[in-house]
């Protein structure tokens, strides 16, 4: 299996948030703004990379029967470590994300990748798979966060200082001045509607790309002698 394929699977073809639909609870709950979404997305990515690496390294040690409890231990340790690190270095962002950082443990995408990928591959592909899956999840989160923030508040990257420090304050873009605020987008129903739209957009784009690919192949088939027209 080549790395490019692993990467495209995690990022696009098997995107956790938009295709496999795992880890929807944090996806829906923390996608109110781009900064929150990015914070949780990056924390999840880091968790996936570390847990995939640890699971892959411990393959020779773990018998079939005890693999699941061992994965739970590994993932819980990694998440708790990340929780402490965020509390120390991104305290304000940590306060905003609150319970959803410790709850990364329960994101089934993580144990899913441990079971279906990292437990069957060597460390390097496992790390790349974790990175790709995490970034794919992060991408879905940020897209949904951007959608909800623009429609709901008329801004983009508000409170960026939580993540980037002082420089972040200048990153906030007000796209719609004096936006009265569109409640539906900010409240939970907006998350569901937004996710539905994103999945539809991804499917549409995917089939359009597939159609274009076929169109490119068709002339080649004609040259081979088959006349279909």
């Amino acid at each position: 299996m080549n790395y490019r394929q692993i990467f495209m699977d995690g990022l696009w073809r098997q995107n956790t948030g938009l295709v496999v639909l795992l880890g929807l609870c944090p996806l829906l709950a923390v996608s109110g703004t781009v900064v929150n979404a990015m914070g949780l997305g990056l924390a999840t990515t880091l968790t996936l990379v570390c847990s995939n690496l640890a699971v892959s390294l411990s393959r020779p040690l773990l018998r079939q029967e005890i693999r699941i409890p061992a994965y739970v231990l590994i993932i819980a340790s990694v998440v708790t470590a990340i929780d402490l690190l965020m509390q120390a270095w991104f305290h304000e962002l940590y306060l905003v994300l609150g319970i959803f950082i410790p709850l990364i443990v329960t994101n089934c995408a993580i144990i899913g990748r441990a079971e279906t990928f990292a437990s069957r591959h060597t460390p390097l592909p496992s790390v790349i798979d974790g990175l790709a899956t995490g970034l794919g999840f992060c991408l879905a989160l940020v897209a949904l966060g951007a959608l909800r923030e623009i429609v709901g508040r008329g801004t983009l990257l508000s409170q960026a200082e939580l993540m980037f420090g002082r420089i972040g304050e200048s990153l906030t873009v007000t796209l719609i001045p004096d936006h009265p605020g569109f409640l539906l987008a900010i409240l939970p129903p907006g998350a569901f509607i937004g996710l539905g739209l994103l999945i539809a957009a991804r499917n549409g784009l995917s089939s359009w790309l597939a159609g274009r690919e076929e169109g490119r192949r068709a002339p080649g088939a004609q040259q081979a002698g088959e006349s279909t027209v």
Binding site: E65, I66, L73, L84, Q87, A88, H91
Partner: protein, 216 residues
């Protein structure tokens, strides 16, 4: 099959090893971050307190010079109230009460209510809440200046009848579409002021719950 080679024992040893490695990692990370996390928490408290009583108005370690108490009559549900005391040259300057308003629309509204020694409000801030975004969340300084309107008020300003939202015949604005949230905040602040009028000045004489870091 000898006991030492039984798959059960091997599995148990493997799981034990994973647990030990995980715990060691966590102990290490904890040691690495504990001081910094404590610093961050102290900084957050100081920042919040400093918004109400600016640092140049006091010279004690206010975030460590606090007492806790309960007063069911003025603070709902017999909750524990934390009182931070600001002093300058051992003279009382102000007290900042941390407690929850419980009659909000969605869960407790955590308040910091600063009261000058004279009984005037030094300022009020909401530090956490789960009120509806776009409606009740105007109590947050990030959304509107509403909460700043309490600065300088006291039990006599407005008169007791005025200590309510406009809908209830009082002086304080409610926001469009939300009455419950501001009503809960107004009532909580009034309760705190009444408490202070009765027995608040005694707070300055009580020994601190944690020893002040740098006694002046």
């Amino acid at each position: 099959m000898s006991l030492a080679r039984s798959p059960l024992l091997k599995s148990a040893a493997a799981l034990g090893l994973v647990a030990v490695v995980g715990t060691t990692l966590l102990a290490g990370v904890h040691r690495l971050t504990a001081d910094r996390i404590a610093d961050q928490e102290r900084r957050m408290v100081l920042e919040q307190l400093g918004q109400i009583v600016p640092p140049d108005r006091y010279d004690n370690a206010m975030h460590e010079d606090y007492v806790t108490f309960r007063d069911e009559q003025h603070f709902p549900q017999g909750q524990e109230v934390t009182a931070y005391r600001a002093r300058k040259g051992s003279q009382p300057v102000a007290v900042i009460l941390r407690f929850d308003a419980v009659d909000g629309y969605n869960g407790p509204i955590r308040l910091l209510v600063g009261i000058e020694e004279s009984g005037r409000l030094a300022g009020v801030r909401v530090t956490s809440h789960r009120e509806t975004p776009g409606l009740g969340d105007a109590i947050d300084t990030a959304r509107s200046d509403w909460i700043l309107g309490f600065t300088g008020r006291s039990l006599a300003n407005p008169e007791p009848a005025g200590w309510a939202v406009e809908r209830d015949g009082g002086e304080f604005d409610q926001f469009t579409g939300a009455t419950i949230t501001p009503r809960a905040v107004v009532e909580a602040i009034q309760g705190a002021l009444e408490f202070y009028e009765l027995s608040g000045r005694d707070l300055f004489d009580q020994p601190a719950a944690a020893p002040p870091e740098a006694a002046s």
